[in-house]
Amino acid sequence: MARRYDSRTTIFSPEGRLYQVEYAMEAISNAGAAIGCLAKDGVVLIAEKKITSKLLDTHAVGVRREKMYKLDEHIACAVAGMTADANILINLCRLNAQRYYFSYQVGEQQRQRDGRRNPAERRPFGVSLLYAGWDEHYGWQLYQSDPSGNYGGWKAVAIGNGHAAAQNLLKTEYKEGLGVDEAVSLMVKVLAKSMDSSLAVDKVELATVTRDEASGKVSFKVFTAAELQPLLDAANAEKEAADK
């Protein structure tokens, strides 16, 4: 009779579990993966887009990207899960970032945790987020939040489809002190392993957050199809060679 405790986020099951939260986490495990890692001079995010269609207008305003969002000048995020829920959280993050700037006249510190659960009686957000950014106190940071409201800081982390496999791969492959370029190729490699199909430009979003040492300006860059193609080709070739 587990069903009796299924329907509410405010009631624990006799085993002390909250099923709705667990289901929300499960929903994310089926969504397109998002992986991120820290480099010594930046943060790299990569994600798999599940929905692709030739008819999709990638230049329409506001929906040009599905997985990567800029939150402030120095913070970006990647999402896995329900895009509609992600939009609500991203809106909140952007609002908070600007409110912070209004109060203190300096950019918000990285440690905002908005992966919080909706108030009682409502459905938890079906989305997990990776936040990448820089601040003057702690330098480069990468955080992950989930529907339970938990959040944590990571050196390398994966969410979404195949995250367990990707996480295992990261455990063995990730080394501290990577440059951004090395981190980018590591991310492509890990995503290639965790995806069912082979890598293609319309299925992958890749972004970096880097900082210009001279001006101190943090910039968020999403790779264009032309920039992405050679990286994906290399990873596909490597994967094929490994399979043989």
């Binding site: 109060s103 203190y104 300096v106």
Partner: protein, 195 residues
């Protein structure tokens, strides 16, 4: 009638305050410390209505401490000054705090900084500043004496000259003063000047 002076030096900031607690035309005591510490490397010099002074500084300081606890990071002097300005601006058309401030602090990487903030929520980053009637005399004096590489001894000398000027010309000159310095090592009292 509160009187403050502030001077930003090479790697420190020096503030001076009178120590009179006044009610109407009566002096209540002569040992009130009006330079309140915000955290280990920041101070507020708060002038104005006695009740508002305490209420406002306690409120802002509590929030700055709360921020430090929540985020495991302390706010910079710039952030604290802007936050205090925001609070004054918010209160201005509702129930305003009647207090003027000098915000002095030292931040790693940034160095010393001094901000002048009035009850109308005007914020200025300054090299020298003051509030109260006394500042009418000291501002021009400081304009003449200040330079970017000021040492602590020079700054103290400037403060003493300012006090001398106030004593010579101001009808309601305070009797006692306290001088504090904020630098890389924190906050310390460097002099207490009496008649």
């Amino acid at each position: 009638m509160d009187f403050f002076m502030g001077i930003k030096g090479k790697d420190f900031v020096m503030v001076c305050s009178d120590t009179a607690a006044v009610h109407s035309i009566i002096t209540i005591k002569q040992d009130e410390d009006k330079i309140v510490p915000v955290d280990s490397h920041k101070v507020f010099c708060v002038a104005g209505e006695a009740g508002d002074r305490v209420q406002f500084s306690d409120y802002v300081i509590a929030n700055v401490k709360l921020y430090a606890l929540r985020n495991a990071t302390e706010l910079s002097t710039k952030s604290v000054a802007n936050y205090a300005r925001g609070e004054l601006a918010n209160a201005l058309r509702r129930s305003p705090y009647h207090c003027n401030l000098l915000v002095a602090g030292y931040d790693k990487g940034v160095g010393a900084s001094l901000y002048w903030l009035d009850y109308l929520a005007t914020l200025h980053k300054v090299n020298t500043g003051g509030t109260g009637y006394g500042s009418y005399f000291t501002l021009s004096l400081f304009d003449k004496l200040w330079h970017p590489d000021l040492t602590e001894a020079e700054a103290l000398d400037m403060m003493e000259k300012g006090i001398a000027e106030v004593r010579r010309r101001l009808v309601v000159a305070p009797a006692r003063f306290i001088v504090k310095v904020v630098d890389a090592n924190g906050i310390r009292t460097v002099a207490e000047l009496k008649e």
